[in-house]
């Protein structure tokens, strides 16, 4: 039907597969460097924080080649793929360069102490700045070649797979599926019934709107639109309504969840408090597009770690997105059996999609997400048997909660007999070491004989003895997270730049209100399921 299927395999012809190839290339490079005794860290960087211009310029100078490598590395794969997908290479490269520089400026702006004071992170800033620019002046046609929101977010999601342990998917996945199914079916029915029974819209139009709200946003509307032979104008209206609500919900859910999550990891003492995991799961049920939802949870992640991102991904991507083919198949049968009987299609298109649509519409980038999770989980599950953690006797202890400089002396330290074969003080290297992963009990046993400075050094050694945290997380997963941040910011900037409210708001009020009724049911239902029914699962999620 399209250029892809008529010319053979989609493996090089859709952005889903290219997102997989790019994501897996990044992961392979990061793991390869690590196994070779190095790390991708110097080449996978994001701007640091600053409060005066001199700090900014020195950070820029320090990371210049890192930024250049991210620009060239991503740019090369994006450019090759866009060319193969039939796009104008010159237009893409020029547009991508502007987008990258814009993203760099936004990341620096987000790192400014004043922005931190305003609690505005890079995701929201990228979206806001993009919206302002995009609504003042429309993007020229050539620039639109580089506005690939979906491609960038899919790449980010594949990279995200490397940071999401398979065990987490196995544990929380079934809950996410149950919750997402309840929400998806309810939301679809509400929008469909409101559209057809209250506003007397065409049933196929109702199905397009319902799927946009219930499953995977604009992509859901399009996937189902073809299956039910939807009117082109109805698809266009569906796109507009879903986009407007998705963007509105970015701001609503961001500000709401930021207010509801206790600051600084404090206890949940107020009735309205929710955990970061619950926030992510709620966004996963009540946002209408992956890219829009990631804008919310990436913004939350800057203050609350990756729990919101993980919960959102489980709920939205695994719970809702991957079932789009089944929705298309079922609704195609319903359309042929019921809806088209009541309408005079005349010589219009006839027939319905086959069962193969379940696989054909499957968002293939999710396979990359799973593959990345499997690869990293396997590596994480195989720490070297002879791993020895080392910490300097004088240095800096860093944890998520604190940073402390210490100056210890271990020359007369009394090693507990039970740990004598695993703990060592290497005077020549001014370091202490521990064989294998140190448990908390072992840390306490060592600290029982230590003074305050020695205790800080032992805490540092405790952290360093964890191979996953000190090696894999720091040297492999860390750089992948940085590159994921780039993909996300590129995406959020694209959302803003490609949104023209004036051009979107050309539809009648009936579809808008039908969708809005669905929102009014979806948001509280998502909240109740997340924070009351399945709260234990989402609170435990890290």
């Amino acid at each position: 039907m399209n250029e892809r299927s008529s010319k053979g395999s989609n493996l090089l012809r859709t952005e889903d597969y290219w997102a997989i190839w790019l994501g897996m290339l990044v992961i392979a490079l990061s793991v390869g460097f690590f196994w070779a005794g190095s790390t991708l860290k110097p080449w996978a960087v994001t701007p640091g924080t600053w409060s005066d211009p001199s700090q900014l310029t020195s950070d820029l100078a320090e990371h210049f080649f890192g930024f250049l490598s991210v620009f060239l590395g991503f740019g090369l794969v994006f450019a090759i793929s866009m060319r193969i997908m039939g796009r104008n290479l010159g237009e893409f490269l020029l547009g991508y360069t502007i987008l990258f520089l814009g993203s760099l400026a936004i990341l620096y702006l987000a790192g400014w102490s004043e922005m931190e004071r305003l609690d505005l992170g890079a995701p929201l800033l990228a979206l806001l700045i993009g919206l302002v620019i995009g609504n003042i002046k429309a993007a020229p046609e050539w620039f639109k070649t580089s506005l690939r929101t979906e491609y960038y977010i899919k790449t980010g999601i594949v990279l995200l797979g490397a940071t999401l342990p398979l065990t987490l998917i196995a544990e929380a996945g079934p809950i996410a599926f149950v919750q997402a199914t309840i929400v998806s079916i309810t939301t679809w029915l509400v929008i469909y019934l409101a559209a057809t029974r209250i506003f007397a819209l065409d049933p196929r139009f109702g199905a397009v709107l319902g799927t946009g709200g219930a499953v995977c946003g604009v992509s859901g509307s399009i996937a189902v639109g073809g299956a039910v032979k939807a009117d082109k104008d109805h698809i266009a209206i569906g796109i507009a309504v879903v986009s407007i609500w998705a963007i509105a919900m970015i701001f609503a859910l961001t500000f709401l969840t930021k207010w509801m999550i206790p600051a600084g990891g404090a206890a949940m003492t107020e009735w309205y408090h929710i955990s970061p995991g619950e926030a992510g799961a709620w966004v996963g049920t009540s946002e209408y597009a992956d890219a829009a939802g990631f804008a919310v949870v990436a913004e939350l992640a800057s203050d609350h770690g990756d729990a919101p991102i993980h919960a959102f991904t489980l709920m939205k991507v695994i719970g809702r997105d991957i079932w789009i083919g089944i929705w298309a198949f079922v609704l195609s049968i319903v359309s042929v059996t019921f809806w088209e009987r009541g309408s005079q299609t005349g010589e219009g298109p006839q027939g319905r999609v086959g069962i193969s649509v379940v696989w054909e519409r499957f968002p293939k980038f999710v396979l990359g997400f799973f593959a990345a999770s499997v690869v990293m989980s396997l590596i994480a599950a195989s720490p070297p048997d002879d791993y020895v953690g080392r910490a300097p006797v004088s240095g800096t202890f860093k944890s998520k909660a604190q940073t402390h400089e210490y100056y210890a002396d271990f020359s007369d330290f009394q090693i507990p007999a039970a740990l004598a074969d695993r703990f060592a003080y290497q005077a020549a290297e001014d370091a202490i070491s521990f064989e294998g992963k140190m448990s908390l009990e072992e840390l306490n046993a060592l600290a029982a004989h230590a003074d305050e400075e020695q205790t800080w050094a032992l805490k540092n050694l405790h952290a360093k003895s964890d191979w996953f945290e000190s090696e894999l997380e720091a040297l492999v997963i860390g750089p992948i997270k940085k590159l994921r941040s780039w993909a996300f910011v590129l995406c959020f900037l694209c959302i803003g730049l490609s949104t023209r409210f004036k051009e979107l708001a050309t539809f009648g009020l009936k579809p808008f209100w039908a969708f809005t009724i669905g929102v009014l049911v979806n948001v509280p239902l998502g909240y109740v399921l997340t924070t009351k029914v399945f709260a234990d699962y989402w609170r435990a999620l890290q």
Binding site: T14, G351, V357, R500, L504
Partner: protein
């Protein structure tokens, strides 16, 4: 594949000259699609726009206005 299905496929939208298949043209025909989606993703799959009936259709569909696309087009 049965004979009727094979015949239907021969005259399916997939081979129709009218169909808008190209991803860039598909995106241009649906303003706003780039905000949160695209014409080159798997969720669009094999769908195209029929400019005769102004509908989104898939490769399995057929109609009386079918015009075979020239080879290589």
């Amino acid at each position: 594949m049965s004979a009727p299905r094979s015949r239907a496929r021969e005259r399916g939208c997939e081979r129709c000259a009218y169909l808008v298949r190209d991803a860039a043209e598909f995106e241009a025909a649906l303003p706003g699609i780039l905000i949160l989606s695209s014409g080159q993703g798997e969720s669009r799959g094999d769908q195209g726009l029929c400019p005769i009936h102004q509908r989104l259709v898939t490769r399995e569909m057929t109609c009386g206005r079918f015009e075979r696309r020239a080879m290589g087009e």
